[in-house]
Amino acid sequence: MAETLTIHIDGRTLVAQSGETVLQVAKRNHIAIPTLCHDERLDAAGCCRACLVEIDGQRRLQPACNWPVSKELRVQTSSPRVQRHRATLLGLYVADHRLDSDGLPVHTTQGNDLRSLAQGIEFKRLLSIDSPRHPRGVDANPYIAYDPDLCILCARCTRYCDEVEAVSAISLAWRGAETSIATAGDRGLLDTSCELCGGCVDVCPTGAMHAKQAPRFEKPEAVQKVRTTCNFCGVGCQLDLNVQEGKIIQVTAPPPGETVNDGNLCVKGRFAYGFVHHDDRLRTPKIRGADGELHDATWDEALHYAAKGLLGVRDRHGPHALGFVSSSRCTNEENYLVQKLARAVFQTNNVHQCAAT
């Protein structure tokens, strides 16, 4: 069982549970510690070194994300030593990143945590390093792309692929400055164990892993996010439809910890929204004519034709000659109205939905 104890961060005495990390306690108490490789869904890796803090009794700075609390632990999150470390570390990251005209890491539509950090911390300017990171070879998958110039090797994507999606399709590969994110045999994702869930895109802090069909460098104000519920399977994932000029341009997951899906989505929820704006969508009411074909009609004509047809069957054969097939794909409110239509208007309980398929 978890034990309650107290620790001290920056002189504040805070309550913690055994098993928690310094980062978790700090976050709960609104003490800001920068992170890059951290994601609540993943095991702490401690590899980006952004969250290093001073811990009493430790000779070296230690990662807050991976340091378990203990009784009366004393932590400094912004001592001069920690600040010196951050300035150097950030300088190293920035020296190996694509920069905008202000010398800051580039803005990406999905966010660039490195840019946000660089905007908030005075960092050392170092000579630019042009790492010869391996780019991905030809990849015919329509959804996910990798831009090595934005990669900071935090390994969030590969760890997500191992720990959450558990298909291990991508991995850190090569050595030293050439280190990159690769697939086995450098194959395209369609030819690997990848299931195109897009979690790698979702966890990427810089936009190196990105959605092929989404805009990459747009300013966020042009995009409106509408929180809704996925329309495919029964998990009920919450998703954000990213809308621009009346079109869905991308689907993103809400942050982890907030919703039933904890920030996760599958290939269908995240990528298969093309049907919404598809040319095949029905746009006009249609009535079958004497020639056996469906012909365009006005709403008024179609509704009255439908009513007349259903009432006709009822009058000729009785209400039990009608069947109402409602939809497990439509909303609760619509299903309520279909059964009300069957029962209150047509006087039959012959109403069901595809509960079994």
Binding site: A140, V164, V226, T228, T229, F232, C233, G234, G236, Q238, V243, I248, V260, N264, L265, V267, K268, G269, A272, G274, H277, L282, P285, K286, W299, A302, H304, Y305, A306, A307, L311, V313, L322, G323, V325, S326, S327, S328, R329, T331, N332, E333, E334, N335, Q339, K340, L341, A342, R343, A344, Q347, N349, N350, V351, H352, Q353, C354, A355, A356, T357
Partner: protein, 532 residues
Amino acid sequence: MTNSVPEFRDCDLLFVIGSNTTEAHPVIAMEMKRALHRGARLFVADPRAIWLTQMAEQHLQHRPGSDVWLINALVHTVIAEQLYDRDYVANYTENFEELANLVKDYAPEQAEAITGVPAEQIRQLARAYATTKKAAIFYTLGITEHTHGTDNVFALANLVAITGHLGVRSAGLNPLRGQNNVQGAGDMGAHPDNLPGVQKVADAAVRARFETEWGVALPTERGLNLNEIMHGIEAGDIRGLFVMGEDILVSEPNVARLEHGLNQLEFVVLQEIFPSETARFAHVVLPAACFAEKDGTFTNTDRRVQRVRRAVAPPGQARPDWQILVDLARACGYPMPDYAAPAAIWAEMTRQSPKLAGISHERLDRDGGLQWPCPTPDHPGTPTLHVGGPMRGKVLLHAVKYRPSAEPPTPEYPLVLSTGRVLYHYNAGNQTRRDRGPNLKFSTNFVEISRRDARDLGVADGELVRVTSRRGQVEVPTLISSRVRPGLVWMPMHNFATATRTNLLTLDEGDPITGTAEYKVCAVRIERIAAT
């Protein structure tokens, strides 16, 4: 589901039976994988070596349709080895003696002969499951799509109840519901026996309340379920049909017979977003808005009511289904209220539905999803059911006997066909078939077949073959795979082309209680096309 999705990452044991979770419920599968990453144990019972079996401690590869044998043998072991929860059985169950008597005849050794699962594997699972507190069972249509689907569920419920796995976090019995709102559609009364709020039509007091609410007398006779409506169409008892958002000519079994029936109908109304297969038979087609173009709510598999919000405008003259339904009712002469928004429809429903009365659109917008039962506006919702004892007082154990599937293989039709889903397509496929990614993965129907059966038939991987059942035939390429055992073939239920619909083959016989058809077992033969 008795429990909630976010609980599953903390399970210590997962028993997945008849659920291809990584393909049909990928995000719940992620929660399972997180549990496994923490060290949880996984047991999978499935006739196919589905993806999850790669991560499983044991794969119990039982023969299709032998579920009752397998589950009763688990119950047998739990009772024979005294591993059941005596207190829970004594305090919270009825009929234990009858169950114990029945399962005496279901020893693992005999089960091995029928199910094909080694007796020792059955014992190991029974022991592991009974002795792990946070042990959850998951099932999907592999359990329910049988003529003995209800029996399968009863058998599982017995196992859960006698081991006291109800009302415990990260445990329980968890049917993973297939569609985004299959739970909600039933909750709303799109069910022949139920009025909104999961209340019985047969209950005169409930009926009276809705009669007052709607201002009309309501029918009292039992209605037909979907399977019976389909049979009624074929028999000529149903003469007119209203269909909203379902492509019955893809998703229903034995669709050739259904097409014949639809041809005889006097009138068919269809509300759809795409020109579906069913549209070919409609007298009038009403263009509807899709989920991204309207407001409302869906209820997911863990009884969580969540908002659906309009993000973009519907194409052309298409309108949200709820608006069409209001106008259709009015065109029929019924004074359907002029609802300003779906929130008003929801409010009308909750006035007469105590279990959902605490949920409103306003609250959902403020708090996010809420899980029913949620009777009052200050009720937090119910993530885990049956905490502190079963809701109905005691769990009634059902001693269910094995019944064979309706259509066993014969010399003429020597193979068992089972059906299911693939990750990249969704149900009828009207949505995913129009997207590039899913088609890069799967663009045609196929039949998964074991290496030995393929060799015996002399067919190569990818070769076009004719699959024939007593009801129809399709020509599809083979996919030679170690996922299926000899004697079993498997096809996805999605519609890739009208002529290759898998449900041209399947059996429309239904479970006697639910009417759910036996999609998971029918007899087929496979022939080379090149040879004929």
